[in-house]
Amino acid sequence: MVAIPSIVVVGLIWLPALSSVVLSFTRWNGIGNLSAHDFVGLTNYRNIATNYPPFWPAMTHNLIWLLVMFFVATPAGMFLAVLLDKEIRGTRVYQMALYMPVVLSLALIGFIWQLIFSQQNGLLNAVTGSTIDWFGDQRYNLWAALVATSWRQVGYIMLLYLAGLKAVDHSLREAAAIDGCTESKAFFRVIFPVMRPINVIILVVTFIESLRAFDLVWIINRGRNGLELIATLVTQNVVGEASRIGFGSALATVMLLISSGFIVIYLRVVMKGDR
């Protein structure tokens, strides 16, 4: 009974992942069969680091992406969750407004924010009178993309965190209140530490999603001109003009290596109770 699902997942996910690693040590161009003399060791990795101009900008952009998600979107989502967890009237309406973007695809979000960021027809320039090409100018487009993506991420984090807060044993709060804790003190000293598993999961999700960021920048300008990300570089090397399989695989392997650390952390947290 597990045979069929295993074949699907191993065949379409794990074997390709391993193949990416193997191919990353070759200079195979995809024509003919892979033979022994195609293996070139770490050459591809060396070329990526020293001889491939978009790589370091892409790494920097991914890092900026991560930092914004981590220090802006995630705390904002958590903060809103804490506010909405208080018993206030209309809390469901507020919640709905905040997580509505979560159901939209990131590609569509790029489309919708075009209406605000466009140089000629966008709302932002119409109101402020500026002439900045927000999605086109490489000084600004990363930040514009981050605004659009945060729009979705804040709602997502809010939702996850709210669910976590609701699951916290209520007597803990009461105990803290009786002991004379202020609300903020109770949150940071009592509630926050109790929520360690969900905190870790949100962290891991933030890291992984920042690494995988792709749809939004691809819809803006296919990840060029200021919006290079690791994910778009891999795609460009395969789907684009030249099929540089070995080289693209090395980029893919870099992604795999970074994500595997977070995947291990995630599995350790979510499967802890099963042991």
């Binding site: 009974m1 407004a97 590609a107 009461e174 995988r212």
Partner: protein, 304 residues
């Protein structure tokens, strides 16, 4: 499940909680703050909605930050120019089988993992769950080559291979989503009492029947939640459709946005209408099945 009980206890509340609920200036400030944030949040969507109802010539003269020139023709034009009938059909052809297959496969995995305590169960579940978290781009090259090398009969796909075929997309979406669903379902299935299965064993029900006739009906709540969530996710899927399909007429609606951009570029009213149409199915799912949607999202993270 525990959250329901908690919510009730909270509304009953103890003395300090009741006192806090009274309207204080701080409370009012909180409301004002939340109203502002919520309004800001839905503004981009409302802006798209507003402009989708205005005609091009009016906004060309008066600018977008103006009032007037209302029309509904953008929707019909966008539908026609974007060839939305075809693209929605493609989305349906991909999404429906992929969601059904994902739920079938993942429920099998979850059933085995939660029902039998073999030693390797944890590793097995780990393998499935982790697959969901890998960056898709890291698998792109082998998948692309593999799909190009797998021949399929021409009546299935005109290119003669799995590349550039909707079947390939169904396969890859299923493979990716099975891990997440298996994880959520296995957590749920672990709460089903073992005695039920013992009784089924005594009655001579096969393992297959125990899965199909006993476990699946009991798992209706998580299955409904996951189905809702997976429909929106697979409908929204962009990357694989973009790289594995080569002819524009095969794109599902989300990836066809890339093509649309060129056509709609000068006419932002058309762009707005197109965005609203594409968003509509997920927004409808969201409004009608909000509870399922949310519980599906949160089940995975907080262990039910």
């Amino acid at each position: 499940m525990t959250t329901v009980a908690l919510d009730q206890s909270r509304t009953v509340g103890s003395a300090p909680m009741v006192r806090k609920k009274r309207t204080t200036p701080a409370r009012r400030l909180l409301h004002v703050f939340l109203i502002v944030v919520a309004a800001t949040w839905i503004f981009p969507l409302l802006w798209a909605l507003y402009n989708s109802f205005r005609n091009y010539s009016y906004t060309a003269i008066h600018g977008y930050a103006s009032f007037g020139g209302f029309t509904v023709s953008n929707f019909t034009n966008a539908w026609k120019q974007g060839d939305f009938t075809r693209h929605f059909l493609n989305s349906a052809i991909i999404t429906i089988p992929a969601v059904v297959l994902t739920l079938l496969l993942s429920s099998m995995v979850a059933f085995v993992v939660s029902r039998f305590t073999y030693k390797f169960n944890l590793a097995l579940l780990g393998m499935f769950t982790a697959a969901n978290l890998l960056p898709p781009q890291a698998l792109l090259i082998p998948i692309y080559r593999m799909f190009r090398a797998i021949p399929v009969p021409l009546w299935i796909n005109d290119s003669g291979t799995l590349l550039n075929s909707l079947w390939g997309l169904i396969a890859i979406n299923t493979a990716f989503q099975t891990g997440f669903c298996a994880f959520v379902l296995s957590n749920y299935m672990k709460t089903i009492p073992m005695e039920l299965y013992e009784a089924a064993d005594v009655d001579g029900a096969s393992v297959f029947r125990q899965w199909w006739q006993l476990t699946l009906p009991l798992c209706r709540p998580p299955l409904a939640a996951l189905a809702t969530l997976e429909v929106t996710w697979i409908y929204n899927e962009f990357f694989w459709a973009t790289v594995l399909l080569q002819s524009g007429d095969k794109f599902p609606i989300t990836s066809s946005l890339n093509n649309l951009q060129g056509q709609f570029f000068t006419d932002f009213n058309l762009l707005s209408a197109g965005s609203i149409i594409v968003a509509l199915p997920t927004l409808i799912v969201f409004f009608l099945l909000q509870k399922q949607f949310v519980s599906g999202l949160t089940m995975g993270s907080t262990k039910g």
